[in-house]
């Protein structure tokens, strides 16, 4: 009978890191899938459902179509899941950078047309309310920008000192 260890050998590019306890690929994939599902709900399904129900009211116009929100949200969730599975590998930093860039692009779509328009007919005439939220998008863009820098530093670290971070990322 063969018992598979839940954790992989703490090596990286032939270098052994005795202080690291890297989860097996199976565990990493399971974590990535769970994270993807969570992110898919938070970044794609939930915003899509909210936008569709708001647009269905008939008097609210959004600058970004619901399909774009679902598509980009799904891509973002996929990349977030990939960052989890890629964490022990050198591809982690670039994956984080890519996920951050997609998040920035996602927000940039809203930035270029950051407005919600509500048009309601009243007994005395039309009422039009337009809400602009450009500063909100700019504030939200700070987080992925910082995360992009974090991914860049990790990429550089993995390039200059391969596997150096593994013992601290996966302490034994």
């Amino acid at each position: 009978m063969t018992i598979r260890a839940p954790y992989a050998t703490p090596t990286h590019r032939g270098v052994t890191y005795p202080g690291a306890r890297i989860p097996s690929k199976g565990i990493l994939r399971a974590r990535a899938m769970a994270y993807f599902v969570l992110m898919f709900v938070l970044l794609a399904l939930l915003p899509f459902a909210v936008v569709v129900s708001v647009v269905a009211l008939g008097y609210v116009t959004l600058a970004v179509p619901p399909d774009v929100i679902l598509g980009v949200g799904t891509l973002q969730a996929l990349l977030e899941g990939m960052t989890v599975s890629a964490k022990p590998n050198p591809s982690y930093g670039p994956t984080v950078m890519l996920a951050s860039l997609v998040a920035l692009g996602y927000l940039a779509i809203f930035l270029t047309s950051s407005a919600v328009t509500v048009s309601v007919g009243t007994s005395s005439g039309p009422l039009v309310l337009r809400v602009l939220y450009t500063p909100v998008i700019l504030i939200l863009m700070v987080a992925p920008a910082l995360r992009f820098l974090s991914g860049l530093v990790t990429t550089l670290e993995d390039h200059w000192h391969p596997g150096e971070r593994l013992p601290s990322d996966y302490p034994a």
Partner: protein, 261 residues
């Protein structure tokens, strides 16, 4: 074991990114909650007063609305513009200076509308004629420095004349001028004040004036009364005119200039 410096830097950036995101989401949640708490309080107020511009005959209609802003952020740069047209011309066009409603309290937004009531103004017609007025109101405001609101309210407004069908009939005798006044109040406010009747002789010289009894005509009500204006000796009103004005707190509104047969 202490993490490598680059790892510490990358982790610090990641933690900072998460903190910024959480702080932004908390901020947005508080903004959304605070916005939902803004509500009008009390009923809109209207007040007439004399025109502010020297040499221009007119009245000022001041519209006020109390707003409650119990939230965490101010409603700032509230700019109200309003235009009102009646058949044949513009009645009012005005942009208010920016106003601010402080956080955690109540405030009053104000719109001051000058109404030209000079003899040449068709606005005077609205005193005695019902009309459908076109209206456009714009409200721009900024909330918590992050959201900008632009509100446009357009459409028609039914105007009910406060002195609908105003009829003034002066009948002169040697010592008294009988003034019969009748009208319906089609407006939505109580008419309170006094009427001032001035007798002007044919030469243009005023020779008698009388403050008529106080008015209190509710919306939908009517007035149909005859008031005596005593004429002093030497005051012959025949061929002259009767000027009738409504006087209230802070204003005098000329209503009609009726020839005296």
């Amino acid at each position: 074991m202490r993490s490598p410096p680059l790892r510490r830097l990358s982790r610090a950036l990641l933690v900072l990114s998460t903190l910024v995101l959480v702080a932004a989401l908390i901020f947005l949640a508080t903004v959304a909650y605070s916005v939902s708490e803004i509500s009008p309080s009390g009923t809109p107020g209207t007040r007439w007063s004399d025109g502010p511009t020297a040499g221009v005959q007119g009245l000022v209609l001041t519209l006020t609305q109390n707003l409650s802003n119990p939230g965490l952020y101010p409603l700032s740069d509230v700019v109200i513009s309003a235009s009102l047209w009646y058949p044949g011309g513009a009645l009012v066009h005005l942009t208010e200076a920016p106003q601010t409603l402080a956080a955690g309290g109540t405030g009053t937004l104000q719109l001051v509308l000058p109404v030209n009531t000079s003899a040449s103004s068709r606005a005077l017609d609205l005193l005695s004629q019902d009309a459908t007025l076109s209206r456009e109101v714009w409200v721009n405001a900024s909330y918590a420095l992050t959201f900008q609101f632009h509100l446009l309210l357009a459409g028609n407004v039914s105007w009910g004349a406060p002195f609908y069908g105003l009829s003034v009939t002066p009948t002169a005798s040697t010592t008294t001028l009988e003034v019969a006044v009748s009208y319906h109040n089609h407006s939505s406010w109580d008419e309170t004040g006094t009427m001032v009747a001035t007798v002007v002789q044919a030469g243009g010289v005023a020779c008698a004036a009388q403050t008529l009894p106080s008015l209190n005509v509710p919306p939908g009500g009517a007035l149909d009364q005859t008031f005596p204006v005593p004429l002093p000796s030497g005051c012959d009103p025949r061929g002259g005119s009767l000027d009738l004005a409504l006087a209230g707190p802070g204003f005098v509104l000329p209503l009609v200039e009726e020839p005296i047969p």
